[in-house]
């Protein structure tokens, strides 16, 4: 029965002169999200609103699900369009609409009328009253509540007449692409995909880097990361995933530095490499899934030591999250099942039994000097041989 969706956006509405930028980005994102949906849609801006009109038959559930992945949408209202065939006919149509959606329930309601086409014979107030009366006559169990109605029935008189009352919550946030771009350090774990999702939600476009260490990590581990990027790309649009072969760097660190500092030094090199790719690809920051105290390399001391190598800001949206909360989010996003597949990633393969938890920057820097002979060359080779995978939904 629905023929269109009214897209409500929260925060964009308060933007001043830049508002059109946000709206245009939102239209783009909606187009991207609906590309894989059955049916054809026309997305248009009309009088400060975005409508998604279905031009053909479409799958309602699938379409709503897709729209719910678009950041910047606060609510999705399924709309019925009807031709103007006089007010009496409209009342019949609305009564049928109410019957189809709510049946005979005990609820309160209020009619909201808007008359964008001013030549309509009734004024907004009159529409509200007359329509309310017709509904009360048809549904004895409904009562009017003008302050706190459970059903907000909207009637908008435009070229056609729009009827809607259901509001489906959207993903919130800001349209991707309105907030610049950042480089996500993506591992195969639970946290980093969630971190990427959260920053993308603020309108940031995401590129990603994955460190892969064959033969210590398998081809399947890499595929798992690509799969994770694909899932996140449902929300963010295509993700440019840079895959770095990290084996030689890791082995070199292993041979020349104390084992208990291996992870922290390794992470410093990951940040350095990520930053370099970020700068080449015009990213404005790095994103990691770190959370204070989760593992040895994520204590405040370790984070400070890792952070020290970066000039770009490092965004850590999960910094104060408990693991359980991250897991809940990852289940909601849909990455959890993939994240828990048991493939070893490069952070765990050489991990010492007792890695340092309170590294001292001075000492770490001193030990990194032991790498000076070959490390620059190895980093350069890793950068030169990086592989680019564009992760997007199939």
């Amino acid at each position: 029965m629905f023929t269109a969706f009214l897209i409500k956006y929260g925060e964009i509405g308060i933007k001043g002169k830049n508002r059109y930028i946000f709206e245009d980005a939102l239209v783009q994102q909606i187009k991207y999200a609906l590309k894989k949906c059955e049916g054809e849609f026309k997305i248009h801006k009309t009088q400060g609103r975005i409508y998604v009109d279905a031009l053909t038959e479409f799958d309602y559930d699938e379409t709503v699900e897709r729209l719910q992945t678009v950041f910047g949408i606060s609510a999705i209202c399924p709309v019925v369009y009807v031709e103007d065939e006089g007010f009496d006919k409209l009342c019949d149509t609305v009564v049928n609409y109410m019957k189809d959606i709510y049946g005979d329930v005990q609820k309160t309601f209020k009619v909201f009328a808007r008359r964008a086409r001013k030549n309509y014979p009734l004024e907004s107030q009159e529409i509200c009253m007359e329509m309310g009366g017709a509904i009360l006559d048809a549904f004895p169990n409904l009562t009017v509540d003008v302050h706190n109605p459970e059903i907000k029935l909207n009637i908008e008189i435009r070229e056609k007449i729009y009827i809607y009352s259901v509001e489906i919550p959207g993903a919130m946030g800001m349209p991707v692409g309105t907030g610049g771009k950042a480089m996500l350090l993506l591992s195969g774990g639970i946290d980093s995909p969630v971190a990427g999702y959260m920053v993308a939600k603020r309108g940031v476009k995401i590129d990603a880097v994955y460190f892969h260490a064959p033969p210590y990590t398998s081809e399947r581990a890499k595929e798992k990361v690509v799969d994770l990027a694909r899932i996140v790309s449902r929300y963010t649009g295509p993700i440019y995933l840079h895959v770095i072969n990290f084996t030689d760097i890791q082995l070199y660190i292993y041979e020349n530095c104390p084992h208990d500092e291996l992870t922290i030094i390794m992470r410093r090199y990951m940040m350095r490499i990520a930053e370099q790719i970020a700068q080449e690809t015009e990213c404005l920051g790095l994103i990691t899934g770190e959370s204070i105290g989760q593992v040895a390399s994520q204590t405040m001391q370790s984070l400070a030591v890792t952070n020290e190598v970066c000039e770009l800001p490092v965004y850590r949206p999960l910094i104060a999250f408990d693991k359980e909360d991250i897991v809940t989010l990852s289940k909601k996003i849909g990455t959890y099942e993939t994240s828990i597949l048991p493939f070893e990633d490069c952070c765990t393969i050489f991990v010492a039994k007792h890695p340092v938890t309170k590294p001292n920057l001075g000492i770490i820097k001193k030990h990194e000097l032991c790498l000076s002979e070959k490390i620059d060359e190895l980093v350069q080779t890793a950068l030169d041989t990086k592989e680019l995978i564009i992760a997007t939904e199939n």
Binding site: P215, E219, H259, P342, F350, A352
Partner: protein, 384 residues
């Protein structure tokens, strides 16, 4: 160079098998149950396949049944016999090193009220006949023993086991999981007192998704799949004509030259083993001579994790498996390696090479050469 040494996981389909299957799928695609000529044509392929297997096993054609693979054959044998013979007793005997297709099915039967005895094995992965003798009771309805172990290649004394079972309890049935042994050995159920025997197509250069269960004429068994009543009501579902014909052609091709091929495989294995023995701090698990399968070598490397070695070999085009690959995606300690009491530190340092009749000496030389280079290097970076 690509060297595929994971033939116990699966094998390449023979080109002539693939060709025959394409022909059947596209031209002779009839349903063997159909009454018209197209159906009859398809039925002929089934008959011919049964003939081939009956000849190889020296059994009757009506004792051959086709399933959707080795796992299903094992399930039908165990569950079907257990239920059908419940009145005679509720005791089943198997070994600790069976494939999950048998072990997990036994676990299910335990939940259904059956009692299952799991026979231990010695350090070479072979059961002791005395253990079996002591385990057989008058309530024992079924003994299930694998012909060839999939992880270390140990061979069970099938002939002696068959004889012993029938001496102790003539009513007790004997099932042999020959998924790894079929195509590598001559197995004759009638001579060996085997009542049921499972085999799989894709381990013998046939297609995946097809298996076979020999069921002796007098065996009491009920179906586990219900439907249209095909295969004398024991395995409903339209027969996979192409797959069955493909499996039969693969089996015929292998068995035509089996004896000489097996001798060649043993020679190659011996050669491989000698080369592997030159690598310090390594060991081969189980026997390496005629007391083990001609194609499987279980190889433990101190100080190198099997997964790492596997991926490093993969990088050189050599495909092997870590422990047992059949349960690939969830790494867990192999039951066989535990059962032969392999040193705990080697559980995670053991890989399996499994050859096929197409494996060449050049491939083994290449593999050895790579291993000689690679193992010392990988040992430098052990996890601490």
């Amino acid at each position: 160079m690509e060297v595929y040494l994971d033939n116990s996981a699966t094998t390449a389909c023979l080109p002539e098998v693939a060709k025959l299957m394409t022909h059947i799928l596209c031209e002779d695609y009839g349903n063997p149950s159909s009454m018209h000529r197209k159906g009859l044509e398809a039925e002929h392929y089934l008959k011919e396949a049964k003939d081939i297997f009956a000849r190889i096993l020296k059994v009757n054609t009506k004792e051959i049944y086709f399933t959707g693979g080795g796992t299903e054959a094992d399930n039908l044998a165990l569950i079907g016999c257990a239920i059908a013979n419940r009145r005679s007793g509720n005791h089943i005997i198997t070994t600790a090193i069976e494939h999950p297709a048998v072990l997990e099915t036994c676990g299910y039967l335990e939940k259904q009220g059956f009692e299952v005895t799991y026979l231990p094995v010695d350090s070479n992965g072979i059961i002791r006949l005395s253990d079996l003798e002591n385990a057989i009771k008058k309530e024992t309805i079924l003994v299930s023993v694998m012909h060839t172990n999939n992880e270390i290649g140990s061979l069970q004394p099938i002939m002696e086991i068959g004889k012993l079972i029938k001496q102790r309890n003539p009513k007790c049935l004997f099932h042999v999981d020959a998924v790894q042994g079929f195509g590598k050995a001559r197995i004759f159920p009638k001579k060996m007192n085997i009542d049921l025997l499972s085999a799989s197509s894709h381990k013998i250069h046939g297609p995946k998704g097809v298996g076979l269960l020999y069921i002796g004429e007098k065996v009491k068994i009920v179906p586990i799949v219900y439907g249209g009543g095909q295969q004398k009501n024991l395995r409903s579902g339209t027969e996979d004509v192409a797959g069955i014909a493909g499996m039969a052609l693969a089996a015929r091709t292998l068995y035509e030259k089996l004896d000489e091929e097996v001798i060649k495989l043993y020679e190659l294995k011996q050669y491989f083993v000698e080369g592997l023995n030159k690598i310090p701090d390594t060991q081969i698990n189980g026997f390496t001579d005629g007391r083990s399968a001609p194609h499987v070598i279980s190889f433990s490397v101190h100080g190198v994790r099997s997964e790492v070695l596997l991926h490093a070999l993969e990088d050189k085009g050599i495909y092997v498996s870590a422990g047992s690959a059949c349960a690939s995606n969830h790494p867990q300690t192999s039951k066989t390696l535990k059962a032969i009491r392999l040193d705990k530190s080697l559980w995670d340092s053991t890989i399996r090479f499994s050859m096929s009749v197409f494996t060449t000496k050049e491939e083994i030389d290449y593999t050895l050469e790579i291993l000689y280079d690679m193992i010392p290097m990988l040992r430098r970076y052990a996890r601490h």
